[in-house]
Symmetry: C2
Subunit: 269 residues, 2 copies
């Protein structure tokens, strides 16, 4: 009757790895246990989630749906439990979500000086859904890069950062000082938001191995710089806006204070 969150977590691990053995290892249990638990989970749900062969593990349609749902459920439950603990210990906590490459530590330090009693924390936002940590309760404020779904959000623009083209060091364009969009016309672009690479490392790996090039925000290119890649300014690409974001219905003074302090800090820095 009740969904078993442990088994859900086990299922997610298998879905992540597409491999029972490695998933079991990550979960610190043995493979047969994981195998049985996931089977039992499918029986409890009365629903096949995985198609197994000895060479591959694939998700069914229902499995894909559950995998999507599971991310939000597990994150929301963990955040809820932490809020309960915070209330129990009378802790005030402020969690800041940040888009890849953006740095909030300076703003948080400034905030912590004025509010030493408030516990602060950060959580990374994923590029294809930067607003998710705010919506599922993991964070109260976000320092996010557009685009994102800003419905129901109170947004303070902070700044613009230029887009740069990221290409292999061996690429014909790599020796150019700067580019225009026209220079990239013939290249295969890897920016499409359809492929949800779980990490930007993967994207840069693809670029380095010659699968294409990408237009990325400058701060992202800087954060993941590596010797076999170069990034070049694209003079006519529009800048990308970065913003401070809170849910519009949240009115706590703490959030307003953070927005104020962070706006000052981030606009200067």
């Amino acid at each position: 009757m009740d969904l078993d969150l442990r088994k859900l977590r086990y299922f997610v691990a298998v879905a992540d790895h597409r491999h029972f053995g490695r998933a079991a290892e990550q979960l610190y249990i043995t493979q047969p246990v994981l195998s049985r638990q996931v089977s039992a989970f499918e029986q409890e749900l009365e629903c096949t989630l995985l198609v197994r062969t000895t060479r591959s593990v694939e998700l069914t349609a229902a499995g894909k749906q559950l995998y999507e749902e599971a991310q939000g459920i597990l994150a929301a439950v963990a955040a809820a439990v932490r809020r309960v603990h915070d209330v129990d210990h009378s802790v005030q906590r402020l969690v800041v979500a940040f888009s890849p490459g953006l740095h909030v530590s300076e703003a948080i330090r400034a905030f912590a000086l004025r509010h030493p009693q408030v516990e602060t924390d950060v959580v990374p936002a994923r590029w294809w859904e930067p607003d998710a940590p705010l919506r599922d309760g993991r964070a109260q404020v976000g320092y996010l890069r557009r685009p994102f779904d800003d419905s129901g959000m109170h947004v303070i623009p902070i700044g613009h950062e230029p887009r740069v083209a990221c290409v292999p060091a061996a690429h014909a364009l790599a020796c150019r000082g700067e580019l225009t969009s026209a220079d990239l016309a013939g290249e295969r672009m890897l920016d499409t938001p359809t492929r949800r690479t779980s990490s930007l490392e993967e994207k840069f790996e693809l670029i380095a191995s010659g699968h294409g090039v990408a237009l990325v925000p400058l701060s992202v290119a800087r954060s993941y710089s590596r010797p076999d890649l170069v990034h070049l300014p694209v003079t006519d690409a529009p800048g990308i806006e970065t913003c401070l974001v809170v849910l519009a219905d949240r009115r706590e003074k703490l959030l307003r204070d953070f927005q104020e302090i962070a706006t000052a800090t981030l606009r200067c820095g």
Copy 2:
């Protein structure tokens, strides 16, 4: 490590009843089992949720926080599991949330004629958070009465309904044909959204027993009519808007279709 949703449900039952015995009865388990399970739950959370004496059960601050969180968690999990089953059985489903007293059956029948393959369902919205079923995923569309939090919502106004004063049949005002706000100036009003009576029955029970009077939408007064209460039009009270509501980021054709059909049906009816 993982939150046990069964124990969470047990805790919610105890919090609802403020009584282990009656909660156990509702859960179809025995009182000692419930007592032990809730204790174990508190140990797992490392956090006291309830203050028990033999005469009363009260929530701690952490308990109150968890109780609030639990509502959303359990609803969201149940909705997610149903979506998984829907995908598994290739079912298209449309769930409509409705404010107390509003009737969606006509619109749903009209919709079902055009979309016989779509399973339809309804879920009641609670007056102090009419938008909750949409936000936690239990429903995709709402036929809701204002006020509610419409951030991130796409709202189509449907109509206005008059407010009526609901007073005991024995009350001095009960014989009047209609009232103005001035007539209610000396009365104790029960509309404050601070008291979250779980059912409107309770509110009307309070009115009937002489604890005050209330201004309610006409349809609500009609739905809960009883011999010891009368409702009277208040000529100068502003009408209350009813709306069709969907989350702004949902773009499915099915939702657009429902909005279209329901708008026509509800505006006429």
